[in-house]
Symmetry: C2
Subunit: 312 residues, 2 copies
């Protein structure tokens, strides 16, 4: 059955029936707006949009995969402020010939990914469009902490990482060359595994800056370096190339460090910590902050490309 | 200059430079997420999406007009809960050949409309897309009041309206027949004039239910009737046909009451009040609630069409 047959309200009813609720959902879907708890009198809010053909392909990812990824991209932004996600709102633009099941499974993926952190889909909007588009807004709770900004890195700080880099980019390359394996990489592209809890943990431990790695480690650390008016050096040896990535890189003729250092979409969190901080489990040191500008790798400019610009 | 030339980050810089700030903006654009004040430990949140060709046309509306309308559609949803809007987040999907000025003026319109109620654009995302799409999320503050839902209307209540109906629908019809006047109607379509303050006022006065009229009065009151398990009767005589609307209707061969009762996009607020409530300025009685189901006009079923389904 296509969406043209169910109509807007029929589809909304079917989607809402699939959604789980969350502790912060004071009023969920069905009214003009949702009401979400904001216990410390502030709410953290971020929006990310996924466009078919640009951020996903229906022949590469299932509807549930796209839902998981759309949610993860947003929830990671909330975690990167040191906050705990509470709610998602979803604007869904769909071609009228889209099967209803696709929209339902997308919503299931969004809801399931949100439930991992105790958040829920509380509202949304829907329209027909020639281009399948999913815009998600995530809300979150700072639990009384100050938000961890991009601008607080200090010379001498340690740069640390929670989560994987390069896996999603490698999976994307694999898929774009017509392969479906290795599964590790393809699955990483389809559904990022984000260390959500690492964000609040870093905030509690005194992280001086933090960012969600969505466009590539070097590019995103470039935002931290610029906002903090510091230089950042990455230690290439801190990045191990997993066997399956090495094999794929070799087969495809790619330098795996381009994936690891410049590949986006894994949504690892990068943070800076004062020197001597005992890093919590899940965080590992990958570089250091110094006086200066820009991002280097082993103290040299990086030549392998820096990441993703959605208009180039 | 096109967006392909400025690139994603160049365009974001230009847009952010145009934004005004708001009292609730604790942290505005530029980090992974924004931080917005939520003084009463709750936040009201709503999302609406506008798609080119479906919700607007660039030859009918300026970029600033589209920005005003996208903001108004969302801010009205917040007002319809009885809340005061605090912030907007904007996901913007644009063709790469879109002139940069268009995106800048759109953002200016969003920011200016938000500023009318003291709210501000605090964040967003941007992507290229073949289809120009604007998804806006609005946040708001209930100031300690309970949200006014669709489900609280009681038999005996008065149905009241704040703001215009039918003007935007008439403007749309005028434009779709190739005319550019009357200005009153065309301007109403381009930039709705929403009585934002009427929402919180109605909440303070004990409104039992409230809704933003976005799809047409009869259709949207149908949601109130269904959620409240009541019937609603609208008094046709409560709707005056303005001269310019009467002339346009006559010239175009349209029944103006179809615009007034079934036309959307003016974002009037409809609310129900207990019998005997002295309606505040800006609100006028247009009908009554009774035991039963559905929405009637002068106690009869309405035959003129009920409103807008985005998939039909």
């Amino acid at each position: 059955m296509s969406i043209a047959e169910t109509g807007e309200f029929g589809l909304i009813t079917r989607i809402v029936a699939r959604l789980e609720t969350g502790a912060a959902s004071l009023l969920g879907p069905g009214d003009d707006a949702a009401v979400v708890a904001a216990p410390d009198r502030r709410v953290v809010a971020s929006t990310d949009v996924l466009v078919e053909g640009r951020h996903f392909r229906r022949d590469w990812s299932s509807a549930a995969d796209v839902g998981h990824r759309a949610a993860a991209a947003n929830l990671a932004d909330i975690a990167a402020m040191g906050a705990v996600p509470t709610a998602l709102l979803v604007a869904l633009c769909v071609p009228t010939d889209l099967p209803v099941e696709w929209a339902e499974e997308l919503s299931g993926g969004l809801s399931t990914e949100a439930a991992r952190v105790g958040a829920a889909v509380v509202g949304g909007d829907m329209s027909s469009s020639p281009t399948l588009t999913i815009a998600v807004t995530a809300l979150g709770d700072l639990a009384g902490r100050e938000p961890v900004l991009r601008s607080g890195a200090q010379p001498g700080d340690v740069v640390a990482l929670a989560g994987r880099t390069g896996h999603a980019a490698a999976g994307y390359t694999v898929l774009s060359r017509g392969f479906r394996t290795p599964k590790l990489l393809v699955e990483a592209y389809r559904r990022p595994e984000v260390e959500y809890a690492a964000g609040p943990t870093a905030a509690r431990l005194g992280a001086t800056s933090m960012i969600d790695i969505s466009d590539g480690l070097l590019q995103d650390l470039g935002h931290v370096a610029a906002a903090s008016v510091v230089g950042i050096d990455i230690d290439r040896a801190a990045f191990e190339v997993p066997d399956q990535m090495r094999d794929a890189a070799s087969a495809l003729g790619v330098d795996p460090y381009v994936w690891l250092l410049a590949g986006g979409d894994d949504h690892a969190l990068a943070a800076t910590f004062p020197p001597g901080t005992q890093l919590p489990p899940g965080w590992r040191a990958v570089g250091s902050v110094h006086e200066g500008t820009g991002v280097t790798v082993d103290r040299r400019p990086w030549q392998g490309g820096t990441g993703w610009d959605h208009f180039r």
